[in-house]
């Protein structure tokens, strides 16, 4: 089985978020890492391989991003993925999810041209843009069924059965390979790269492709070709001190109720 896991390089969520002059996220000047939500996808791919011992399962980590984004691939390789593909091209900067999904789909096609890809895996969203739409767009472009937001993944042969935990219902969804599968952070803690994994990753194959390698024109991607653009950004206002209700004459409860009602909590 051939699995492609899409991994995104995102700014470290614990650091300050910076934007470029065109309102795109600054991905070069800040510390970045493999999106935590994508770690779950890598983990599930690795667990799949461990569960299906004896099968020849190859895991490729695919990343679209600036040069530094190779760190995200390296992390996936350290966790245990077999090889990496990094699509890097200045023209891609500023791409929205529609454009990014095109690059991912074309890269996946090129990977598939060498060896059939059975499963494309992603996290449930990125930790920076939190759009959650890439799996669906990717499935559409690749004309594959999509099974998304899996919190439990089971498989037998070509059939995958997953649990989707929604707000109002839990669904059990079945899909057949080939397909696109996105997994949530409920699938289980992602492993930490071990010393062995880190040393082994140094020797794993890592390919770097430009847009021309995957047959995408520069004018199909980037900020100018994107369907959506960010018009402006604003820093979150500093936290203000909350309102303190002091109960001096027995009116405290009423004040509390009034407050909750004014915020539509009750």
């Amino acid at each position: 089985m051939n699995i492609v896991v899409c991994v995104k390089y995102v700014p470290d969520a614990t650091a300050d978020r910076q934007f470029e002059s065109d309102n795109t996220v600054d991905r070069v000047g800040v510390d970045g890492l493999l999106s935590e939500l994508d770690e779950y996808a890598v983990e599930q791919a690795l667990q799949l391989r461990e569960k299906r011992e004896g099968e020849d399962i190859e895991i490729t980590a695919l990343c679209v991003g600036p040069e530094k984004a190779v760190d995200a691939i390296r992390k996936a390789l350290q966790m245990g993925a077999d090889k990496g593909v990094h699509v890097v091209d200045d023209a891609i900067a500023g791409s929205d999810s529609v454009a990014t999904s095109l690059v991912l789909a074309k890269a996946r096609e090129k990977i598939g041209a060498e060896k059939k890809v059975d499963l494309v895996m992603t996290g449930m969203a990125s930790t920076d843009a939190s759009m959650s739409v890439i799996p669906a767009m990717l499935a559409e472009r690749l004309e594959l069924p999509q099974v998304t937001f899996a919190s439990v993944v089971e498989s037998q042969g070509e059939v995958f059965r997953v649990r989707r935990d929604g707000d109002t219902a839990t669904e059990i969804v079945e899909g057949r390979l080939p397909m696109v599968l996105s997994v949530t952070d409920q699938t289980g803690e992602a492993r930490y790269p071990s010393f062995k994994g880190i040393m082994a990753a140094k020797k794993k194959p890592l390919e770097t492709w430009a847009l021309s390698d995957i047959g995408v024109e520069a004018d199909q991607v980037g900020l100018s070709a994107s369907w959506t653009a960010v018009e402006g950004t604003e820093a979150r206002p500093p936290r203000t001190q909350g309102e303190i209700v002091t109960d001096e004459d027995g009116s405290g409860a009423t004040a509390l109720v009034d407050f909750l009602a004014s915020k539509k909590f009750i």
């Binding site: 930490y192 790269p193 010393f195 062995k196 880190i198 040393m199």
Partner: protein
């Protein structure tokens, strides 16, 4: 010569740091101190899977074949997070054991400990260990736990041992220096943690209408700790790169400096915390007692200073 950690070493540290940060090591340490080795043993096994236990065991024996640099980086984190267990002892055994089977078990994460008189006469965590050894003369022996001794650090559960069958023995001098280096790194990490926690505390604790950290008397003390730790670190990292001929001298210098710095951190940390710092319930106590214990473990400061002196002034030792 390269003095910066490689990107692999940095990745290893960050991976280990994240694992330990998410593992509630304080709870594991407290449970371990109370005799419940469950959480600590689980953590031990997880760290073994990460390769921490077998870093300096040769690859052909099932180890990682890493250098003392990785050992130092890992042990600094073990100290920072007060991870319970006989870590320096395992570092010792990595070189002291020559028996293939025993080494393989060690590399796989067996909880093993050793007593090395006169510097470490008791086997740390002997009762919890699956394998207990004792070094006597120039040989390593299996050992049986014969009793217990209390340590100032409740998470170090010391055991007296009875010597058993002699084993094929590796390089005991190298083993000792490795344990000393691991302890120095552990002290450095523990000192850093005490400093970090104390700096946090003095920024919160208010007295006479302002944070106590805004007083120069506090700032100066903490600055002294920062300087001591910053001057100890190059010695510890440098000793990891020492040529074999200088190793004894360099690890002794590292241990003496790291012990001084960590001990200063613990004294200043205790003073800045005030009365709460004395309580066993407050987490600071975990590091204060461990630092006190490790200052004398694997050779007292006086022993290590004598070794440095003997190396730089050969005549002085006569």
């Amino acid at each position: 010569m390269r003095f910066e950690p490689t990107s692999e070493q940095r990745d290893f540290v960050s991976s280990l740091d994240r694992l330990l940060a998410g593992s509630d090591t304080v709870a594991a340490n407290r449970a371990w101190s109370d005799g419940d080795t469950g959480p600590g043993a689980t953590l031990w096994q997880r760290l073994a899977e990460q390769g921490v236990n077998a870093l300096v065991v040769a690859e052909e024996s099932g180890g990682m074949g890493a250098s003392d640099v990785e050992l130092v980086l890992a042990h600094e984190l073990l100290g920072r997070y007060a991870v319970p267990g006989p870590w320096a002892e395992v570092a010792y055994l990595s070189h002291a054991l020559a028996d293939a089977e025993a080494l393989a078990a060690l590399a796989e994460g067996e909880l093993a400990t050793v007593a090395v008189a006169p510097h470490t006469p008791y086997a740390v965590d002997g009762a919890a260990a699956a394998a207990v050894y004792v070094a006597e003369g120039d040989r390593l022996h299996r050992a049986a736990v014969s009793g217990g001794v209390e340590s100032v650090d409740r998470s170090r559960r010391l055991a007296t041992v009875a010597v058993g069958e002699a084993l094929r023995t590796g390089d005991l001098e190298r083993a000792f220096d490795t344990a000393v280096l691991a302890t120095a790194a552990h002290l450095l990490g523990a000192g850093e943690r005490v400093l970090a926690d104390t700096v946090d505390y003095v920024k919160q604790r208010r007295q006479f209408g302002r944070e106590i950290g805004s007083y120069q008397a506090i700032k100066h003390q903490l600055a002294d700790v920062r300087i001591a730790l910053d001057f100890a670190r190059p010695l510890v990292h440098g000793a990891a790169l020492a040529a074999p001929a200088d190793r004894a001298r360099d690890v002794s210098a590292a241990k003496a400096a790291a012990a001084d710095a960590a001990y200063l951190a613990s004294r200043v940390g205790l003073q800045c915390h005030g009365a709460i710092g004395y309580t066993q319930e407050f987490d600071l106590s975990l590091w204060l007692t461990r630092i006190r214990a490790l200052v004398s473990a694997w050779g007292t400061p006086a022993f290590h200073r004598r070794r440095v002196l003997a190396a730089v002034l050969p005549a002085a030792s006569r």
